[in-house]
Structure formats: structure tokens, C-alpha cells
Symmetry: C2
Subunit: 310 residues, 2 copies
């Protein structure tokens, strides 16, 4: 058996996991803050590797799921503003130079999808559309067992498709993207806007409530909160209908914090999906599931990816 | 060398080609009308196969590019309204039963993309976005040499993504799809609508001009005709920007009759693409080319597909 050290590097936390059997379950995990008062993200990664190498000196591989824009051919993080402001960080080379092991470096959404495919919600499928809805909307696609990456590894921006030309401003600077219509901040922003317009809610308008608070209010029957989720679900359905036409998956996996809002989002999403799909043929044999691996999806995916590609 | 009989079955014509070397060039081609006064599409296909079998009794494979919704796992054409009203035609089984050769059956846009990849505009690329703009908007994607098909072979509907929620009606019954904004009929329909609104043009409004006529008028400086192409190019740019974010191709191949309108469409398309793309990273190393194989792309692709998959 191989011993693989896997990482999922996020803006807030770095998760590390050690895998030494084929169960897909780490024998050891550790979570640290990505940046700490005296240490950069890179220093925290180094220190985790050193700590684990001291106990397991014969690691077979290191694999890393990373956020932001990644040039996956060269293992260079082009831009990951949430991680220490990373820009053009040649992570593969840096790790290889320091530890003598050339790491696998892939996009975090792709690795989470890969983990869900091999060990989670997508186990019995070969055509998977994985969509995460949280601060952003992201995702990945597996077609007949092939993980799509694109020429330079940038093909994972599933939230950045125009649904409403000239719609609300997206985090990327464009308008009317799926992310600007269905993410957590999009829900909060719609809610706030309706409050400004004079709609009433049980929630105070100041400070502006988060999608999580809005979900709680919706569960207590707050009409405006329910409306905000209905709106997001509607656009999520329109966006995912596009993806059915493009990818014809057999399984949609919904992940990310906003997907935990359950039927609040799911019901309007599913209604809208059926309304937007161009033919019922796309619904034949289609399973829609929630992600099962939670916060460990990226870690588990990165481990499995390195195992399958080495 | 293998001898392969390839077909591209369309609503108007059936093209057949015989391939007996690896040049990608057919040694023999024949084009017949899909339906003739006394014969159905199937009868015309049978007769072409019989004719060729009489001269080349030892065919190694038959390969067919077919339009419409295809269940490619089972070789069943779910719906191809343009071909004799085909519905649930078990083409693979029908051919196998009649000729004792189990044919390859794939989607026509996928096969055209495959042909362009192996023998045409995409030769030096492995990440291809192929988009055809004619009566409809269709296409296919190759990611790291893998042709995307989807679970049941339905993942080729590149024209059916919502760009303008509640936009113009699409041929599929949905609204604001790329096809409803950038196809030939979309250009004609926009032009007609602007005439109804009182805009003037050198073209008579009755009968309503086709996209081809509009292109001719645009080349002669007709402002409304130019505007109609600018509009289509704008939405094509928005749609293809989505596809850059989803697929990150190294090569975009534009095919189909409307793409022959050259700079009329290309300039507004390219301007809009640059405007809609979320980061210049997606333009790095990107080549945008016109399709090179013309009407034979599907035929050549189907031949190469059968060669690579047998």
C-alpha cells in the first residue's frame, strides 16, 4: 500500500490527511488556519509536511487541492486571492525543491468532485455534474470517467455563465452570472435589496443578514426569506438545465453550505430545472444527490487522484 | 488497411464516403437526397450500403453521424424531426440485422468536431470547442483528447443555454437560448422585428430575408443588416465566454453556414468575447479558427471515430 499525504488548501483552513489504505478514509487528519499571525500559508504547509514526514519518512506521494485559478500543467497557482493573496505561486516546484517529492496539484472543486465520485454520492455513476453553492458557485464534471480540466486547468468555473444578460454584478466583475444569482451572497444581496425597496421581514436589516440567517428565518415562515431562496433556486435550475444540455450527466451532486438549506432551495430549484430543460430525455436515469463527504471531499479526492494518476 | 464506409445523415442529404487509407480523405463519396419521392431515408441508406457492398464486399466497418437526439449507448435515434420524422429508430440494430455489421453511431456535431480535430482546423490541439452556427447552434467538446458525449449521448446541445432569461423564443420551446440569439433564423428574426418596428433597409421586408440575404446586404453597407449581425455576434461572444469558463479550450473552431459571413459576425463576436471573459487567462494560448473540412467534416469524423474505437 502507498502512503499518501493529501491537502485541501482553502482561504480559511488548510486540511491535511494521511491515507495508507484503499478505504478512502484518512488514518490521520489535521486542520490548521491557513495564515496565522506569524506564518504565511506556505510556512504552514511546510510545517505540516515536516511534521508528517517526521513520523512517516517514506511518503509515496503528496497531493494538493488548491483554490483559485490554477495552471495545472505546471502546478502554478495563477491567482488565489483568498490564500495570502497568492499570485503566480509555483507550488509544485516549491514543494518539489524543498521536500524532494513532486506533488500532484489540482483544482479544489475538481478534487471534491473526484472524491464524491470515487467515495461519496457519485459512486455508481460515470457521468457526474458536481455543483457547489456557497460563497461562490463552482463545480466540476466527470464524463465517462474523465475529469474535465481544460487546456490550462481553468475549466472549472461553473458559476461564471451568463444567465441574465445585464443581471446583478458577479464577484468576477461580469454581470448576471449564475454565481451572482444563486450563491449565498446572491441570496443575501437579493434579500437586502428587497428590504431597501420596502419589503418586510422578521430579520433586522442592520446588520445585513447572511444566507444562513435568511435560511433560519425562512424555516420560521418569513415570506421574504422564502422568496430569496425561491429566487436563487429558480436561477440554479436555469443554470443546471444548461449543464444538462451541455453534459447530459447521470448524476448531479449538490454541495456547499447553501445546499444544506435543503428543500428551501431544492424545491424551487427542481421545479425550475424541469421547466428549463429542453426535453424530458435529460431527466431519464438522472439522480440528484447531496454531497456526502462534507469538508473532507477535496482531501479524499486529491488522495484518490494521486493514486489513480501515479 | 481497413475499409470503412462512413455516413453523414442530414435532413436534406445523406453523404456516404469510403475510406481505405489513413489519409482521412475518402476514396469515393456519394451524396443523395435523404428522402426521395418513392423512398424513405432508411431505404436510401440501405441502397447506398448495398451499392457499396457490391463493389467492396469486405467492409471492415460502417460508421454513421446522425442528427437529433441520440441514445449513443444503444444506437437509437430518439428524435430527429428533420429526417423523415424519425422517432425511436433503432438504427444500430436495423443495420446490424440487415447487413451483419454492427455500425458505429454517433452524433453529427460530435463527429464533425472529431473530424476537425484529427484532420482539420484542430489538428495541433487537444482541447477543442467546436461550435456550428447555421439553422441551429450546436457543437461538441474535446478535453485532453476525450470527446464529451454525456450519459446517454445527449450532451451536445451547445446552443441550448440560457443567455437572456425571458429572451426570444428558441426552436426548442425555451426562451433566450444561444440558438435563439445567434443562429441564422435568429439573425433573420431580429432583422424582421426591427423592420416591423420601422427600421429601414435596402432589403424588401416581404418575403422576409434569410440570414444569407442579410449578410449580402450588410456587405453592401446596409445599416440594419450590419446591426443584425452585430447583435448575433454579441450574443455568440457571451455564449462562447461561458464555454471558455466551463471548458478552457486551446482552440475554438467555428463552423456552419453563418460562420461563413466572416468579419460581419467575427468582429462583434470577438469584441464581445473579450468583454465577457472573466479573466484574460482564458485567452492565453487560445486559437480561434474556422472549420476546414466543410460539408465532409461529419463523414471524415465518423470514419476516424470508428478507426480509433475498433
Amino acid at each position: 500500500m502507498k502512503t499518501i499525504l493529501s491537502f485541501d488548501i482553502g482561504g480559511t483552513n488548510i486540511r491535511a490527511g494521511l491515507f495508507s489504505d484503499e478505504s478512502g478514509k484518512p488514518s490521520f487528519t489535521k486542520k490548521v488556519k491557513t495564515t496565522t499571525p506569524n506564518r504565511s500559508a506556505l510556512e504552514n504547509i511546510f510545517s505540516l509536511i515536516e511534521e508528517i514526514l517526521s513520523q512517516y519518512p517514506s511518503l509515496d506521494a503528496i497531493s494538493m487541492a488548491v483554490p483559485g485559478s490554477l495552471d495545472n500543467k505546471n502546478g502554478i497557482i495563477i491567482k488565489a486571492p483568498n490564500v495570502d493573496g497568492w499570485k503566480n505561486v509555483a507550488l509544485r516546484q516549491i514543494i518539489a525543491d524543498k521536500f524532494g517529492i513532486v506533488p500532484f496539484i489540482e483544482n479544489d472543486a475538481s478534487m471534491a468532485a473526484y472524491g464524491e465520485w470515487k467515495h461519496g454520492a457519485g459512486k455508481n455513476h460515470n457521468y457526474i455534474l458536481y455543483i457547489t453553492i456557497s460563497t461562490g458557485v463552482g463545480g466540476a464534471v466527470i464524463d465517462n470517467g474523465h475529469l474535465l480540466t481544460g487546456f490550462r486547468g481553468l475549466g472549472t468555473e461553473k458559476g461564471h455563465i451568463t444567465i441574465v444578460e445585464d443581471g446583478p454584478l458577479c464577484s468576477c466583475g461580469q454581470k448576471g452570472h449564475l454565481e451572482a444569482l444563486a450563491s449565498g451572497p446572491a441570496i443575501a444581496s437579493y434579500f437586502r435589496q428587497r428590504m431597501v425597496e420596502g419589503a418586510s421581514s422578521m430579520l433586522p436589516s442592520d446588520p445585513a443578514p447572511t444566507a444562513k440567517k435568511i435560511a433560519e428565518a425562512a424555516r420560521q415562515g418569513d415570506a421574504l426569506a422564502i422568496e430569496a431562496f425561491r429566487q436563487a433556486g429558480y436561477y440554479l435550475g436555469a443554470g443546471i438545465a444548461n449543464y444538462l444540455h451541455i453534459f447530459n450527466p447521470s448524476c448531479i451532486i449538490l454541495g456547499g453550505g447553501v445546499s444544506f438549506s435543503g428543500n428551501l432551495l431544492y424545491e424551487p430549484f427542481y421545479e425550475s430545472l424541469k421547466q428549463h430543460v429542453l426535453s424530458e430525455e435529460y431527466m431519464v436515469g438522472l439522480e440528484i444527490k447531496y454531497a456526502q463527504l462534507g469538508d473532507e471531499a477535496g482531501l479524499i479526492g486529491a488522495y484518490q487522484w494521486s493514486l489513480d494518476n501515479s
